[in-house]
Amino acid sequence: MNPIIEVKNLSRSFKQYQKEPGLLDSLKGFVSRKEFEIKAVNDLSFSLNEGEIVGFIGPNGAGKTTTLKMLSGLLYPTSGSVSVLGHEPFKREKEFLKSYALVMGQKSQLWWDLPPLEGFLLNKEIYEITSSDYENNVKELAGVLDIEKVLKIPVRKLSLGQRMKCELIAALLHKPRILFLDEPTIGLDVVVQKNIRAFLKSYNQTHKNTIILTSHYMDDVSELCHRIIIINHGGLIYDGSLKDLTQKYAQKKNLKLVFYEKIPKTELKKYGQITDYKAGGLSVTISVKRSDHTQIAAGILSKFPVDDLDISEIGLEEIIRGIFISAKA
């Protein structure tokens, strides 16, 4: 399969100016400013196939949004090359711009004082969507997202969740082959987050479009993405499946135990690190070495009155945190 997105040795630097506090230093800065360069993206390479949902992860300032902006043609790269559906994004050719959508969780494309339908109609003309396609798409998307009733209410009067759903409709009206999602669930409550994740998953399965997702909510990533790209300081740290990531970087597993009687902490300490200790020792979670977890579980089962045992992977968030910490060290 030919990749639809190819990024080779991509870099982007920004010039920054340092400003010292105080009036005198401001005056000095007016005459000559201290200039320095920040490498937001540094020699990044990866490729994506059609229909993939890829999680693009990194801490704040890692270069995620800058990369998305270069992929969508908003920013020129300082060096390296990008090809998206055979286009060089920064040429901003009409056909290219019609082939993707960028949804930014914190930025709206709808008119604040007007109903979402007015914004959709504008997109209909901008993206040259036929009237029948437009009617069908609005009907289908609003139906799936369950927001038919709010489409005629001014955007400013909608809840954050309803607004985000309307943003998704506006972005998907022209059936983009690639969907860039930058923090799409930011600020939403857990129920709406779940709805949006379910919608994106089913939309991807039906339309086979490619989705690149950046999110600080690891639930978004673990529920939607089979593949993860992790970057830090603009450089690639990991590119692979979620499963491999867990096996490679999760050094521990969690044993969640429920006992028939209270077990003192001192008795359990030797098995691993107690991360949760409730009801005086009736419910305990122990973090144990991944390689030893079966022997440890067997040992506990033979020694204590265990009512229930659950062995689980440590959370993605914890794995990612571990990766960033080790990268820093």
Binding site: G61, K69, Y76, R92, K94, L97, A101, L114, E118, E125
Partner: protein, 277 residues
Amino acid sequence: MAGESAVMRLLADDMKRYLKIYFIFVKNSFQLFLSHRFNFLMGITANIIWTISQLISLRFLFDKISTFQGWSFQDLILLLAFGQIYVYTSVLIYDSNISDLPKKIISGAFDRMLTKPINIKFLSSFETVAIAQFIPMITTVTPLLLYGLAGRHSLTLASLLFAFLFIILGNIAFYLLTLALIGLTFFVENALSIKDFITQRTSDLSRIPTDYFPKAIRYIITYAIPLAFVTYYPALVIRGRVDPILPLTSLLLLTILFYYLGHVIWQKGLKNYSGVG
């Protein structure tokens, strides 16, 4: 020939598409106007009061003198009318959008605009229409214009047509200059002040006949800032004091120059664009 007609058809389709989009901008702006009518009414009142104050000060001046540099009270009213047409048209059609560009860059809204398959200069210039300006434009400009034109022996259909051409082309030149200046936002922080100074603050000079100023200033407000072309020259044409062909040709060349200036600044600016974090 077949190739040429295909290109023409594409151009016509594109123009049709842009007109449809512009119609939606007007429609949406009209809806916004209806929902914020009180603010707009206040703006209209302020505009009318400003025009009346201008008339009163001119009247005071002409109580003491009979002509100003050979310009009568009626001539200066005509000049004021043309000046008002420029101010209102720019505010009505594009100025608020263009002035918002630095804000849109800082807020990240410009990123969203860049993703659209539409000319970015078009979107940055015309996304909203200041519908409210239409009412004071009609209510203040019409009486000024009627008074300024009334009873003139020099008035002919040709002079009216040439004055109209000056106003249309002059306003286009002004728009292109404004667009070029705001494009500096991609390079410097205070491009808005530069743009406001050149295109708005200098508009005060439009109420004074250009020939009153020293040669250097006259050149600046004619060829660097096309102010004279939107006020002074149309008034001269109406008064029958100028052959319009040469200044119209200069204006046409200036318009082309501003177009290319804007094109280059925006191309380089977008390449330089860094967005916000």
